[in-house]
Amino acid sequence: MHDLIQYVQSYLDPNVKVTPGAAGNMFWAFVYIMLVFLGLSVAVIAMNWLERKILAHMQVRLGPMRVGPHGLLQPIADALKLLLKEDLIPAGADSFVFWFAPFIVVLAAFCVFVVVPFGPQHAITDMNIGILFMLGVSSLSVLGVVMAGWASNSHYPLIGALRSSAQMVSYEIAMGLAVISAILMTSLNATGTGTLSMIGIVEAQKAQGEWFIFKFFPLGLIAFFIFAVAMVAETNRAPFDLAEAESELTAGFHTEYSGFRWSLFFLGEYTAMIAVSSIAVTLWLGGWLRPFPNLLNSPTWDTLFSYVPGATFLFLAAICFYNVARMPKHPYFRIQTMGLGAFGAALALIGLILFIPVVSVRVQDIFWFTAKVAGFQYLYIWYRGTFPRYRFDQLMHLGWKVLLPLGLGVLILTAGVGLLQIKS
C-alpha cells in the first residue's frame, strides 16, 4: 500500500519534468487518459452548443433557447434523444461492418490525443514519432467512413464514401508536406537534428524564440495556410463537406445511420476537428506557449499573463450574470434565471481558483493550448456559416494542383533557407 502511494506520489515530484508516459508512471497515465477523455467529451458537448449558437447568430436567429438558459442543456437533451432512438441496421446492409464502422472513426479520433501536448508535461505520453503517429492514426478514420458507406448498401452512402476516401487520401499529401516543412524548422539548432516529437516541436519553437507560423516569413505562414485548408478537408467540414453534402447526398456516408451509432460519427467528427486543430497549434502556433514569449518576457509580464486564464473565466461569468439581469422577470423564467446564475457562479468559481498561483502555474499551459484550439473551432464554425460547398472536381483540383505544388515549393524553400541559416 505504501509502495502504491509512493508510486502515485513519485510523479508529483516537482523535479519530474516529463509526461507520465515518459516517466513510466501507469497510474498517472491512466488519470491523464481519463482526463483527456472527459475533457474531450465536454469539449464536444460545448462545441455542439457553441456551433449552434454562433451559427445562429451569424444567421440572424437565436438558436436553441428552450432547453436550459440560452439552450445550454440542449446538447444533453440531444444526446439523450440520440441514445434512446432506435438503432436501425438496414436489411441489405453488411451488419458487422455497418456495426463496426462508427467505432473506428471514434477510436481513430480519440487515439490521436495520446500524444497531444497540452503542456510540457501534460500529455499522456511523448512519442518520438509523435507527429507521425498523429497523422497516421487520424488517417485511419477514413477507413471507418469508407466502411460505413459501403456497408450501408445504398447509393448515396457509397458515393459519399468514395468522395471522402478520395478527398482524405489526396489532402493527406498536402497536409504531410506542410507538416514536413514545419518539422524541418525544428532542426535549426546546434546539433542540426530535428524532432518528430510533439513536445519537442514546441520546445524547438521556444528555443528559437519564434512560432513557426512567423518563421522564414512568409514560408511558415504559407505552410500553415496549406495545413489549415487541408485539415478542414481532412475532417470533412464545410466548405469541404462533400462526403456528407446534405443537399446532394442527403447525409452522405451516414445516411443510413441513426441513434447511438450516428452520434458516434458526430463525436468522431468533432473530436477529429479538435485533434487536427491541436496539430496545427502544436506545429505553428507554439503549442502551450503564451503569446509573445520573446517580446514580453519580463517576470511582470509572466505574472500578468498568468492571470489571463482566471480573467477569462471571470469574463465569461460576467456575461452570464449580465444575461441573468436581462432575463425576463416573469415567474415562468425563474428556473432558467437560476440555472444561468448557477452556471455563471460555477464559471466565476473556476476563475477565482485559477488565480491561485499554485494552480495557475500548472494550468496556464493547458489554458493557452486550449484557447488556441478553441480559436480554430471558431474558424470551423465561421467557414460553415460563410462558404458555399466546393464541388468534387474543384476540391481535387485545389488539393492536387494548388496545395500540393505549393507545399512542395514551401518545403524546398524552407530547406534552402534553413541551410543558408545554418551555414551563416
Binding site: 444567421q59 443537399s247 446532394e248 462558404f387 460547398r389 474543384q394
Partner: protein, 383 residues
C-alpha cells in the same frame, strides 16, 4: 433517354472504356430529397460522378387544377390558381384575373392596376428571395437563406395586412381588387423599399464575388439562347442566355408600359448569369414598385363586372411574366358560369424540360445547382 432533339446529344465518349471502368450507376434522386425543391424525382445515370443523362419523374403533387377549374365558376376558381406557384401566388392571380377580364372585354381601373403592379412586383421579390435562399443552400451556403427569409417576412407582412393572407393571397378579383389599400400602405411599401435596397447589396456581398460561389456557378448548367427558345424556356433563364425578352416589355399587360425599367440580361447562360440576372431583376422590381407607389392614382378599384360572370363564347390565351417565366392561361368559355376549359401554361413545367440538356456531362453536384437555378416550384409543375 427522353429528349432526342436535345441539342447537346449524349456525350458518347464519356465512359472511359478502360480496364478500370466501373459500372454505370443509376441513382434515384427524390421525390424525398433535400435539394429537389419539393417532390421532384430525378433518375440520374452516372459514370462515377458524371451525369450521362437524366429523366424527371413528376406528378407527385398533381391535384388536377385544370379539372377543378372546369367545375368551378370563374370567381370560385380564382383562389385555386394561387396554389400552383405558391411562392408567387399574386402573379398567378394576376394572370388568371387578366385572362378572364380579357374574355369579358373589361379592364381594371387604373388604381387597381397600380396596386396590382405593386403587389405583383413585391411577389416577384419574395419569389426571387426564396429562390436565392434555397439555391445558395443547395450549393452549400447556408447563411443567405436566413437573410432572405428575414426580409421576405417584411413583404409577407404587407400582404397579410392587405388581404389577410401571407402565401396564397387571393389578392385580386376579376375586374379589379376587392380591398382598398389599408391606411399607411404606401408608406409601408416605401419604408420596405428603403429597407430592402441595402439588403440586396448584402446578399450580393455574401455571394457575388465569393470564389467558391463563382467556381460552383460559372459555366455550370450552360444553355444557349437557341436551346432555350427551342425548349420553350422563359423567364430569367432565357434572359440569362442573352435574349432580351420580357413579357412586361414585349407584350405589356396590366399597366407595365407606364413604368420605366430595364430588362437585365446575361451573356453566357450559366448558373452565375442567372444569379446575376435575378439579382438585377430584384433591383428593377424595386424601381417599378417605387414608381407605382409614387404615381398611385385615386379612383375606383373595381370595374363594372356583372354579378354572375358569364363570358361570351370564345377562347382566349393570356400570359404574363411570372417570376419564373411565361405564365399563360388558355380559357375556353361556352357562355356558362363555369369555364369550359382552363389550361395553365406553367413556366416551371416547361423550364424543367431543359434540365436534361443543362446537366449532361456535368457532375452530380451541378445537377443540384441547376435544379436550384431553374427555380421550379413543384406545385406549378404538377398542378
Amino acid at each position: 433517354m427522353p429528349d432526342p432533339t436535345s441539342l447537346s446529344p449524349l456525350d458518347l465518349d464519356t465512359p472511359d472504356k478502360t480496364f478500370l471502368d466501373a459500372n454505370e450507376l443509376i441513382i434515384n434522386m427524390g421525390p424525398q430529397h433535400p435539394a429537389t425543391h419539393g417532390v421532384l424525382r430525378v433518375i440520374l445515370r452516372l459514370d462515377g460522378e458524371k451525369v450521362l443523362g437524366l429523366e424527371c419523374v413528376i406528378g407527385y403533387l398533381h391535384r388536377g387544377v385544370e379539372k377543378i377549374g372546369e367545375n368551378r365558376t370563374y370567381a370560385m376558381f380564382n383562389p385555386y390558381v394561387d396554389r400552383m406557384d405558391y411562392v408567387a401566388a399574386v402573379s398567378n392571380g394576376l394572370g388568371y384575373c387578366e385572362a378572364v377580364e380579357k374574355l369579358l372585354a373589361i379592364e381594371a381601373p387604373p388604381r387597381a392596376q397600380h396596386v396590382r403592379v405593386i403587389l405583383t412586383e413585391l411577389n416577384r421579390l419574395t419569389s426571387h428571395q426564396l429562390w436565392l435562399g434555397t439555391h445558395a443552400l443547395d450549393i452549400g451556403a447556408i447563411t443567405p437563406l436566413f437573410y432572405t427569409f428575414r426580409d421576405r417576412e417584411e413583404i409577407l407582412k404587407i400582404f397579410e395586412k392587405y388581404c389577410g393572407a401571407r402565401l396564397t393571397t387571393h389578392a385580386f378579383r376579376i375586374g379589379g381588387l376587392q380591398y382598398e389599400t389599408y391606411s399607411g400602405f404606401e408608406r409601408e411599401v416605401k419604408n420596405f423599399l428603403a429597407f430592402f435596397r441595402p439588403k440586396i447589396d448584402e446578399y450580393e456581398e455574401l455571394l457575388t464575388t465569393n470564389r467558391i460561389w463563382l467556381e460552383r456557378t460559372r459555366g455550370i448548367g450552360k444553355i444557349s439562347a437557341e436551346d432555350c427558345i427551342a425548349l420553350g424556356v422563359t423567364g430569367p433563364v432565357l434572359r440569362a442566355s442573352g435574349v432580351k425578352w420580357d413579357l412586361r416589355k414585349a407584350q405589356p399587360y396590366a399597366n407595365y408600359k407606364n413604368f420605366d425599367f430595364e430588362i437585365p440580361i446575361g451573356e453566357n447562360g450559366d448558373t452565375y448569369d442567372r444569379y446575376i440576372v435575378r439579382m438585377a431583376e430584384m433591383r428593377q422590381s424595386v424601381r417599378i414598385i417605387e414608381q407605382a407607389v409614387d404615381a398611385l392614382p385615386e379612383g375606383p378599384i373595381m370595374a363594372k363586372v356583372p354579378k354572375v360572370i358569364k363570358p361570351p363564347v370564345g377562347e382566349v390565351y393570356h400570359s404574363i411574366e411570372a417570376p419564373k417565366g411565361e405564365l399563360g392561361y388558355f380559357i375556353v368559355s361556352d357562355g356558362s358560369t363555369q369555364p369550359y376549359r382552363v389550361r395553365v401554361r406553367p413556366p416551371s413545367f416547361v423550364n424543367l424540360q431543359a434540365l436534361d440538356t443543362m446537366c449532361r456531362g456535368q457532375l452530380v453536384a451541378d445537377v443540384i445547382a441547376v435544379i436550384g437555378t431553374l427555380d421550379i416550384v413543384l406545385g406549378e409543375v404538377d398542378r
